[in-house]
Subunit: 550 residues, 2 copies
């Protein structure tokens, strides 16, 4: 075989059977080799940020890496933002980045750039394959690097002549190392903490937000009186009726401070100690309360489930039944549409086994609370803050789970970073319902402008957050890329559009005409409004309200 | 003032009065400071690649840098491909990249990444401003670095607390160093070469493609019998009736080899020795013919015009009249639309003083020849090969030259990388006519697939180049972003649409339904077809045809 053929065969043998692509000339041998590899599913995207975001969404759902195929340093650059999100999510992924032939590099041709340096920014494993003979073994190592306990983005740079060279064979997959458990002494020490006095909490992230880990965490919580928190932006969280409910740390640090106030011990399980998303003048970045002790049960490279189960045993809590979220299906709302009512409508319509890719940072703020008792579903969120991830992640999730309905919630601003994802949804006939909250604004920035202390904004500043002129018409944009699209102004229209999307296979786009959820909100009122709005079950929000304004 | 205010004032004092933006929270003080700086024009884009490509297009036309405002490492990443093009074009630009507050970095929050490393990939000058006190002087240095003889991308990283810190003043602009001329000995040596026997040519690039330099080069050509070539992808080329005509090196190395065959001396003026865009199995990368001597009159950091004029004097050619392209206005075509006829229609309609941003790599292949005798215009091309530059560059050119009509020619594939540019065209009511050649294919890759030797492509491979399912509807996409849009299937419709666009101010989009210009073309037929199609005046193409197939 030639190098490209051996590479694809090696990827497939290692379980990488999906590749999100946007190829150019230097990748043409890889493309040609697809003909002989019908089991490698190559999914074309119109923009590299869609490919990398889709590979991220795929791996979050499939628990194994997809590949991407990118065109030199510039293609990698276009994919960088969603590779950043994947890195922060701990997503396994193998990027194949085509490069000039090795002997062509010296000429500094137009597309020549330093690919390795850019790749290192988002990848723990980077290699330029030096020869056709080395390529298959480099590929096997790349998959192993992506798939092992540390879960990371691996980038294999593929010179054109290494790809087209002949006379090589594929390589077998490397064995996977299972992740290590927490040390016995760590488990014992944390068990002792949990048996002690004072307010305590477990902060769950990464793999600790899957059902078996959640059940173990719930047993621990009941045995010890600890509160369960989830990290603010989980990569993937299993939730809904019949699963243990977990409160998410709030995005707004003002509110997170209220959530965590009085805590004396915080136990991290595949999560980092909570910090403010951004820094603000005169405000603390570190959200761990003064005097609170932080303990690590298991890190991102360790076995979260095994460590939690060891802790269950240490606490003798094996027989405790996990506290499960009762089913609570909301009634569909009616009347004029608002972002909050839209979240209610989505919660009312959410089918069993749905996957929700949530990048609606302001309009979607009540979704988490509203869907707490909805049928069981998976939630994917914006792990790295690089917006433009919601639509691509939905593409990848739908490829990984073709039998599960996918919902992508995005704002008008965030939708436009990777709007090209709609075309791939149509081309692959994916069961994705895209919900675009069009409030004609970078709404989150209206409040951020005030939060940073720049409250007396005038026309020039405010126009930088304004998307009303011209208004974006997402029905036209969706249709332009082959996705059946509809605009809704009332709850009834939204309910009907959701029902239609559930009935008809393939992608749908619903543009929601909504007012800015935070319009006119003043900073000092923030905690009072947020306790009703933020991403936590209603009962918790009410308890919180009592704490702030008794 | 605070840091952001001092920064903006410093930029303006140094002549940077335009900023292409896509801000986030960490840039909110910069945004707020715009209120006090009405002379700084901030132009919002929906995607960072539009901002960086627009800054590139702006500077190519204005000959001074614009700024960009980007959101941390991910915003920079989204802008990277067009920064690569800018770097290859030698475009001055000042990126302002917001970052977390200095004290927030230690927490490795969601958006934390290594900005400097990514910036270095495309910028010669990179600095993270360390304090509010240092910010204004850092900004003055950044503008100086961008504007001096070497013309480069400068990136200033702006931590949020450096931006919001108070009590500082702006700084004066640094004096600009004029570029150096070629050494007298170099000029004398090259004059001697030009007086010698054998075939010789000047290869003009960069600033050598502006009118005064072209006139000097034409005098040299007439005095010495040298041929004038332009680099294959010039950043900006002044051309048309009344200017010296210059033949461009062909993109296809097979054809470039024919152009350059027999050359004994090649003199570079602000250009690099010609190399193949990509490497191909069994083909040479270096396009300089065997035995041809390469001489450098002036490099990118030197004064091309001054050096050419010194050479004119050395040759005693001051009195020779430059050979000027006669006006030759084509008649508008009629009948069914093809890409070649479309180029004729555009040439027939091109108004005096137009700016043409050409990224239609296959469909636009005859444009250069067809517009040779059109009214004087500027041509901007894809300098770095990172597609997605054509529409953003048109935005920037239109901002720089509000009184000149701008035409952006892009393929369907390339249009989709930065389609968000249309919204900024509508928002700013720019006089840009966007022409999208929709052949439902990555057409260039069809032939590249064969050129790399992968000619027996099957369904899986070919589907990676196919954009027909679903077909992209650019009229819908244009309207979705507020741009009046029309689809044309005949030459008559195109002629009419061009006339309407010329009459009505503001942006227009014309979607051209065309067959793939290279459809069914076999590699061995390439030179024969290319001599009729490639980007050179018809007379030259005919002469070339005689050379290949006498």
């Amino acid at each position: 075989m030639n190098g490209a053929q051996a590479l694809i065969r090696t990827l497939m043998d290692a379980g990488v059977t999906t590749c999100f692509t946007n190829p150019g000339t230097s990748e043409m041998h890889f493309v040609a080799a697809l003909d002989a590899a019908p089991d490698m599913r190559a999914i074309l995207t119109l923009f590299e940020g869609v490919a990398t975001g889709a590979a991220d969404g795929y791996a979050r759902m499939a628990d194994r890496p997809a590949a991407t195929l990118l065109h030199l340093g510039c293609g990698l650059g276009n994919g960088l933002a969603n590779l950043h999100n994947a890195r922060k999510a701990g997503t396994p992924m193998v990027n194949i980045v085509g490069d000039h032939a090795t002997y062509h590099v010296q000429y500094d041709a137009q597309l020549q750039s330093d690919i390795e340096t850019v790749a290192r920014n988002v990848s723990t494993w980077v290699r330029t394959s030096a020869s056709t003979q080395a390529l298959a073994s480099d590929a096997a190592e790349a998959v192993a690097a992506a798939s092992d306990a540390s879960k990371e983005v691996a980038t294999l740079i593929l010179p054109a002549d290494v790809s087209w060279g002949e006379g090589v064979e594929s390589q077998q997959a490397w064995p996977q190392r299972p992740p290590e458990m927490a040390a016995e002494t760590t488990v014992a020490a944390i068990a002792a903490v949990l048996k002690g006095q004072g307010a305590k909490a477990l902060l769950l992230g990464g793999k600790a937000l899957r059902e078996p880990a959640l059940r173990a965490a719930s047993r621990i919580a009941q045995a010890s009186g600890a509160t369960l928190y989830a990290e603010v932006f989980p990569a993937r969280m299993e939730r809904g009726a019949g699963l243990p409910a977990v409160e998410r740390i709030a995005y707004f640090s003002e509110l997170a401070a209220v959530q965590l106030a009085g805590l004396q011990d915080l136990i991290l399980v595949d999560a980092k100690a909570p910090v403010s998303f951004f820094a603000y003048p005169g405000k603390k970045s570190d959200l761990v309360p003064e005097g609170c002790r932080v303990h690590v049960l298991s890190s991102a490279t360790q076995d979260a489930l095994g460590s939690l189960e060891a802790l269950v045993r240490k606490l003798g809590a094996q027989e405790i039944e996990p506290a499960l979220q009762p089913a609570r299906r909301l009634a569909p709302p009616c009347g004029k549409l608002t972002a909050a009512k839209a979240c209610k409508a989505i919660a009312a319509a959410l089918p069993e086994g749905a996957i929700v890719s949530d990048e609606a940072q302001t309009s979607g703020v009540t979704l988490f609370a509203r869907t707490a008792g909805a049928p069981r579903h998976d939630l994917l969120t914006l792990t790295g803050g690089a917006i433009g991830q919601g639509l691509p992640a939905a593409v990848g999730a739908a490829i990984a789970c073709p039998d599960r309905p996918v919902f992508a919630l995005v704002g008008d601003g965030s939708a436009m970073y990777t709007i090209q994802a709609l075309w791939t949804m149509a081309r692959e006939r994916l069961n994705v319902t895209t919900l675009i909250f069009n409030n004609r604004s970078y709404a989150i920035l209206n409040i951020e402008l005030e939060r940073v202390g720049a409250e007396r904004a005038g026309h020039a500043a405010k126009s930088q957050l304004d998307l009303s002129s011209p208004p974006l018409d997402f029905v036209a944009l969706g249709k332009g890329m082959g996705v059946p699209s509809v605009r809704v102004d009332t709850c009834e229209q939204l309910n009907e559009a959701l029902a239609r999307a559930a009935k008809e296979p393939g992608p749908h786009l619903i543009e929601l005409a909504v007012p800015n959820a935070f319009s006119g909100l003043k900073l000092k009122a923030l905690p009072h409004v947020m306790n009703a709005l933020d991403k936590m079950p209603l009962a918790m929000a009410k308890a919180l309200k009592r704490r702030i304004a008794p």
